[in-house]
């Protein structure tokens, strides 16, 4: 009788201890922090913001050639960052599988190897590619330019926040 009550009382703790023992010590659920990525994002976001300051108010397609190399540099930099971010191995373990099962049961998307920062870097590159195309073809009007800048800032915030968070 007494034994039964005690067993029931400590059951959750026993389950937790058992799970910790069989799942194997420390877990890695997210990729490693990479100082080189953070430094590159900082450098290229500064370059991007300087570029937006230079073209503030809009552009004419006639002067596109003076900006072409900056576009190319920014596109190349963010595509390269996407590759660097994706190159880190994705931790695959029991804990992630269990979390994905729970997410699926709740009807939510599972956690995949697509890092949010890599996705954001790709979107930033796509935004500069589109901006370059519009600038070359018809020039950038003030509100269109503001919208390009806004889109890039939002994706930058997502990437920088995630990458900084990886520093445990």
């Amino acid at each position: 009788m007494y034994l039964e009550i005690l067993q029931r009382k400590f059951l959750p703790l026993q389950i937790l201890l058992f799970f910790l023992v069989v799942s194997g010590c420390e877990a890695t659920l997210a990729p490693a922090y990479d100082q080189a990525i953070v430094e590159s994002v900082t450098e290229n976001s500064e370059l991007a913001m300087r570029f937006f300051a230079e073209v503030d108010g809009g552009t004419e397609s006639d002067s596109f050639f003076t900006r072409q190399s900056t576009y190319n540099k920014l596109i190349g930099a963010f595509l390269s960052l996407k590759l660097q971010a994706k190159a880190r191995p994705v931790p695959k373990n029991v804990a992630v599988d269990k979390i994905n099962e729970l997410l699926q049961a709740k009807g939510s998307n599972v956690i995949t190897g697509d890092y949010p920062s890599a996705f954001a870097f790709e979107q930033i590159a796509k935004t500069f590619i589109k901006m370059k195309e519009v600038d070359r073809d018809r020039g950038l009007k003030p509100l269109a330019l503001e919208a390009f800048k806004g889109q890039i800032e939002i994706f930058l915030d997502q990437a920088i926040t995630y990458e900084s968070f990886l520093k445990r």
Binding site: L17, L20, I99, N109, S117, L143, A144, G150, D157, T161
Partner: protein
């Protein structure tokens, strides 16, 4: 309740609170910034379409962009949650292993 169990519960609560409080405050700041920025971006696109600065082609591009940024906002939160879970998990494992005298 056994004094040891009470101590263990108290330690676990302290460890969890310490990690969660710090991370939740960072997540709250990020969420507020993102929600405000996405709302401003939506209004900016509306105004651009109205005054003609944003044509049909660009409107489609920016609408796709809004969808992508909303999706990635949620995925960033999920990614951050994984880091928090990892910190929480490892701190608890360390504590529990030490409590039962296992060296890891």
């Amino acid at each position: 309740m056994n004094e040891n169990v009470t101590n263990i519960i108290s330690e676990i609560k302290d460890i969890a609170s310490g990690i969660l409080e710090k991370d939740i405050s960072a997540v709250r700041g990020f969420s507020e910034r993102q929600v405000e920025a996405i709302a401003k971006q939506t209004v900016l696109i509306q105004n651009g379409v109205k005054n003609g600065d944003i044509d049909e082609d660009l409107r489609e591009f920016f609408l796709d962009g809004l969808e992508a940024m909303a999706l990635n906002f949620v995925n960033t939160l999920k990614g951050i949650l994984m880091v928090t879970l990892e910190k929480l998990w490892n701190a608890l494992v360390n504590f529990l292993y030490k409590a039962v005298g296992v060296v890891i």
